[in-house]
């Protein structure tokens, strides 16, 4: 068993167990912390797959920005001491069965799929140099459009999250 396989299984067990922790823990703060652990495990998988740039971006964007946003919102709402009402046992069982059946169906469908072996030689496609070249030549239009998407998301978040002003007297 090589060091690569040991790392793979360690990261896999870490990712799946902390993903289960996300959906099973009662406290939302604990869920956020488990989700950060999951993202770090996925970043480790990216490094094993020679996608170093995506590993760094995953840690910066997801674990750094998005999860801090989640934590901030949870602490703003003061939900950390709140006891969340649970769904009924029957509904929970139905949800677990639905997810498990989907997993079994995809597993059975993909078990016999023909795949290529993972490339051993070309290890530099995930470096920032090659990725940047592809991004700014082949995908430059989607890149620019995503900036418009970010602008609209920012304006939308500000408009939605703004405090309601006093009612306009002209409207009924």
């Amino acid at each position: 068993m090589s060091i690569y396989e040991i790392l793979f299984w360690f990261l896999t067990i870490m990712a799946i167990s902390s993903a289960l922790g996300v959906i099973l823990s009662r406290n939302p703060i604990t869920s956020v912390l488990f989700l950060i652990v999951t993202f770090f495990a996925i970043s480790g998988h990216y490094i094993l797959l020679n996608a170093q740039f995506l590993a760094i971006v995953n840690i910066i964007v997801y674990a750094g920005a998005i999860m801090v946003l989640f934590l901030f919102v949870i602490m703003l709402m003061n939900l950390n001491a709140d006891v969340e009402p649970q769904k009924g046992r029957l509904l929970q069982l139905a949800g677990v069965i639905a997810g498990g059946v989907l997993f079994l169906v995809i597993l059975a469908a993909l078990k016999s799929a023909t795949v290529l072996p993972l490339e051993k030689t070309s290890s530099d496609i995930g470096l920032i140099k090659n990725l940047g070249r592809v991004l700014f030549t082949q995908f430059v239009l989607p890149f620019e459009i995503s900036s418009v998407l970010f602008l609209s998301a920012m304006i939308g978040a500000i408009v939605i999250g703004k405090k309601e002003e006093t009612k306009n007297p002209l409207t009924p």
């Binding site: 996925i42 995506l54 703003l76 490339e119 990725l131 082949q138 995908f139």
Partner: protein, 99 residues
């Protein structure tokens, strides 16, 4: 490590995300489960990019992160506004779409 292992790992993460979406009632936890599903798809795309030795899939993972960040900002703004109105993030209370 064959690519099947990565496929099964991302399938497991995706189905855990679906289960969490179905069994929880807290809207923020449901958002986190959606993030988990997006990350499972990202992991699968990176594995396929390694398999075909093509970096287009990694660029798409990058765009996927962009869309996820935009979605989270707008979604959390909606949740904060709803919390201000009804003082709860329980989706059984939020499902009427008006106060």
């Amino acid at each position: 490590m064959p690519v099947q292992y990565y496929i099964f790992l991302s399938m497991a993460l995706f189905c855990i995300g679906i289960m969490g979406t179905l069994i929880r009632r807290n809207a923020i936890i449901i958002f986190m489960c959606i993030e988990l599903m997006l990350n499972a798809v990202n992991l699968l795309m990176v594995a396929f990019s390694k398999m075909y030795a093509d970096s287009s899939a990694q660029v798409f993972v990058f765009f996927n992160m962009v869309v996820a960040a935009a979605e989270v900002s707008v979604g959390l703004a909606i949740i904060v506004m709803m919390y201000r109105k009804v003082h709860s993030v329980d989706i059984n209370i939020l499902n009427r779409l008006k106060h």
